[in-house]
């Protein structure tokens, strides 16, 4: 967790397609390293699992809690990468505990969930970054407070962003739910199996995972709602247009994969069988035939059926609605504003106000810098308020020590005075010291020996 601070700065600076690769492939190298290490080392797996689980839960919650506060679309997505790495880590941590506790079911569920989430995250996060890129190219800004109503101008991008957002929140019928469900099953497996796993760790991770899900929902309703829905908060010149098909086709291909995993999770789980077997093989006496237990694949097939069933059901309800309302009058009017019918685009709920009550709750945990001029007096002038959320961990662990170090180093600035003669002098002093110090030390030892012999 404390090593995350580069990511939210790197993502907004990179072009969107590169951000997609960064979050899809680059940051997964860390996960790959952890998995490789687990295969290599032979140690107390339970303790190692707890360490991974602890770090993962903290990263997950902290990542998404900060993501909600962000008003830059790509920074927001970057913090969500931290959160998703946390979810993957919970899976891996559970799997490792499963190895240590000789529980093949727990190990298989944990590693399968974690690894499937690696794939899932790279899919929906890339799709989100690509959509963010389309939005940036249309509006030339990433500040979500300035956007709004883009769904009318860019319906394809908006729909793709919405579906990817649903997937990243882990909602059925998309792929995020499959991997989160596997991890949940692992957690309840750890809870119910009377294995020698301390229950408090499991219940804490359960709490963490649920909280991550709820917070992600808050975050993505905010992101989607403010960016794409409502009325435009600013007039963009030239007017935003939908991205070309060259950009949209790869995005739809990614969507097809997301839906594929959501509807046919069994296929992908079987594909994971070999890598998971590498881990479960570490349990002495584990069945070597199939890494994925029979009931796990049956479970996952159930999810696929439920997902398909839900889509069919929603389609049916919508169809009935269309049939029932087809002939009825449907008039178009303004949004209800308590009788106010003027331009209300500046009165809309903004991203800042949408999360205000959350911010009030979470404020003690973060360093949020606020500046405001309240509206007061008999003849009030215009008031304003700005909030700049900042990462408290980054401030305390990275920025402050760096500033202290800079301050300390600054004391030696007088040495660099730009005078060549001084630099030659430093060189000579250095050479002299290099030659003299060993000589002096040797003499000291000789002297000490001499004194000892007395």
């Amino acid at each position: 967790m404390p090593f995350h601070t580069w990511l939210p700065h790197a993502h907004p600076a990179a072009p969107s397609h590169v951000s997609g690769i960064m979050s899809g492939v680059l940051i997964k190298i860390g996960i790959y390293g952890i998995l490789r290490m687990i295969l290599l080392i032979k140690t107390d797996y339970v303790t190692a699992g707890y360490i991974i689980l602890f770090a993962a839960v903290i990263s997950g919650i902290y990542g998404v809690m900060l993501a909600i506060l962000q008003h830059n679309l790509k920074t927001l997505l970057a913090y969500h990468s931290i959160e998703n790495i946390g979810i993957i880590g919970i899976g891996i941590g559970l799997g490792t505990i499963g190895i240590g506790a000789h529980n093949p079911m727990l190990a298989a569920l944990g590693f399968a969930g974690g690894m499937l989430h690696v794939l899932n995250h790279s899919l929906f996060k890339s799709l989100l970054f690509f959509s963010a890129g389309n939005v940036y190219q249309a509006t030339h800004t990433l500040n979500i407070e300035k956007m709004g109503g883009l769904i009318k101008k860019m319906p394809h991008t908006a729909s793709l962003f919405l579906l990817a957002a649903l997937a990243i929140c882990g909602l059925p019928p998309f792929n995020g739910f499959v991997s989160e469900f596997l991890i949940y099953s692992g957690l309840y497996q750890g809870l119910g199996n009377q294995s020698p796993v301390p229950l408090f760790a499991i219940i804490a991770s359960l709490f963490g995972l649920v909280l991550i899900g709820g917070l992600a929902l808050l975050c993505f309703t905010k992101a989607f709602g403010i960016v794409f829905l409502g009325t435009p908060r600013r007039v963009f010149v030239p007017a935003p247009v939908e991205a070309s098909w060259g950009k949209l086709v790869p995005m739809y291909a990614t969507l097809a994969l997301i839906m594929g995993i959501g509807l046919f999770p069994g296929v992908f789980l079987q594909a994971l069988s070999a890598p998971v077997a590498a881990f479960t093989a570490k349990i002495p006496g584990a069945p070597q035939v199939s890494a994925i237990p029979e009931n796990a694949s049956r479970l996952v097939a159930n999810i696929g059926w439920c997902a398909a069933g839900f889509i069919a059901l929603a389609g049916l309800v919508f169809f009935i609605r269309q049939k029932a309302t087809g002939r009825k009058p449907a008039s178009v009017s303004g949004t209800w504003g308590c009788g106010y019918v003027g331009d209300a685009s500046r009165m809309q709920y903004s991203a800042g106000s949408f999360i205000r009550s959350y911010r009030k709750l979470a404020e003690p945990l973060f360093s949020i810098h606020k500046k405001k001029r309240p509206v007061e007096g008999i003849f009030p002038v215009d008031g304003w308020q700005e909030t700049h959320p900042y990462d408290a961990l980054e401030e305390w662990l990275i920025d402050r020590p760096l500033r202290k170090l800079k301050h300390f180093m600054g004391k030696f600035q007088f040495l660099q005075n730009g005078n060549p003669q001084f630099y030659v002098l430093y060189g000579i002093v250095f050479i002299t010291l290099v030659i003299l110090v060993p000589l002096v030390v040797d003499n000291m030892y000789a002297l000490l020996d001499f004194l000892n012999q007395l």
């Binding site: 469900f181 809870l191 229950l199 309703t221 609605r321 449907a330 303004g334 809309q348 709920y349 009550s357």
Partner: protein, 301 residues
């Protein structure tokens, strides 16, 4: 299949009983118990008005919301008979499918571009996020107690034996009633009868819905109430034979409706700022259940 039919039946009169209780307590005669249903039917027959700000999200959201509630009901068992869908960990699916419906109702509120509805959406998102851990930890505790992880298996394996288990049943009922009140935006959290947009949560989110869509949303609320009533009823009837379980199911639904009505008559809504704290205390109640389970299993050392 039986559970679907019974929950559907209970949903027909549930809200009616709540309203009837409230009017009796306040000294009025009140409408018949099928009045909410008649309202829904009337809405189904009406045309609609759409805001020009809205997009296709606003059109599909009520249908998806309704479908999500129906899908969640399919998971809930009644007594010995399973829900239509039943697998290990199905209550995770239950919670997540409801969250999907909530996601759509929130973005459809934001779709209107109204500041009132944004306000409601923001509150709904925050409060449901806070209520979720309580449900998961409660179900997790019972999964630990019974060793099963599906609704049906948990309820059928649940035996009330010692005093502690009765305390657990009471606590779980309390937590579930409160979650039902939060999810349906009822009294201690939200006042469905308030007339000021600024103090609403759920009501303000559907200000711009009308006609068939509004009917769907209102009926989904009835269904949701009956669904939570069914879960609560399952704590008491799961081990009984069907002939006893069915009447008892409706009795529990009836009592739940009366309790909801009484709660709404005598409790005042919390201040918005205090809602979050209240909802979080539910999580501590669910933790109490967890500790109770540990006590019962003799794992508390």
């Amino acid at each position: 299949m039986l559970s679907l039919a019974m929950i559907f039946l209970a949903s027909l009169f549930f809200t009616g009983i709540v309203i009837r209780t409230k009017s009796l307590v306040s000294g009025r005669k009140g409408p018949g118990i099928f009045q909410p249903l008649k309202d829904v039917v009337r809405l189904f027959k009406k045309g609609a008005v759409f805001s020009q700000t809205t997009s296709f999200i606003f059109q599909v959201a009520p249908s998806i919301y309704f479908a999500s509630v129906v899908m969640a009901i399919l998971v809930v068992p009644v007594g010995q008979s399973k829900g239509l869908i039943s697998f290990d960990g199905d209550f995770v699916f239950f919670a997540y499918i409801l969250a999907l419906g909530k996601f759509f109702s929130i973005i459809s509120a934001l779709d209107t571009g109204s500041s009132f509805e944004g306000m409601g959406a923001s509150r709904e998102a925050l409060f449901s996020m806070l209520a979720e851990p309580a449900f998961f930890i409660t179900m997790g505790s019972f999964a630990l107690l019974t060793g099963h992880t599906s609704f049906h298996a948990i309820f059928t394996a649940l035996h009330f034996g010692s005093y502690v288990s009765y305390a657990l049943g009471t606590l779980a009922t309390f937590v579930l009633i409160m979650i039902a009140m939060i999810e349906n935006s009822r009294m201690p959290i939200d006042d469905p009868k308030t007339h000021l947009e600024l103090t609403m949560i759920h009501e303000v989110m559907i200000l711009d819905n009308s006609g068939f869509d509004l009917g769907l949303i209102l009926y989904a609320t009835n269904l949701k109430f009956a669904m939570y009533g069914a879960i609560i009823a399952n704590f008491f009837i799961s081990n009984l034979p069907l002939a006893l379980a069915v009447p008892l199911f409706f009795a529990v639904q009836f009592f739940f409706a009366v309790i909801a009505g009484l709660l709404e008559s005598f409790a005042a809504r919390f201040r918005m700022a205090h809602n979050a704290e209240f909802i979080y205390t539910l999580t501590s109640f669910s933790l109490l259940i967890f500790f109770g389970v540990l006590l019962l299993m003799g794992k508390f050392i």
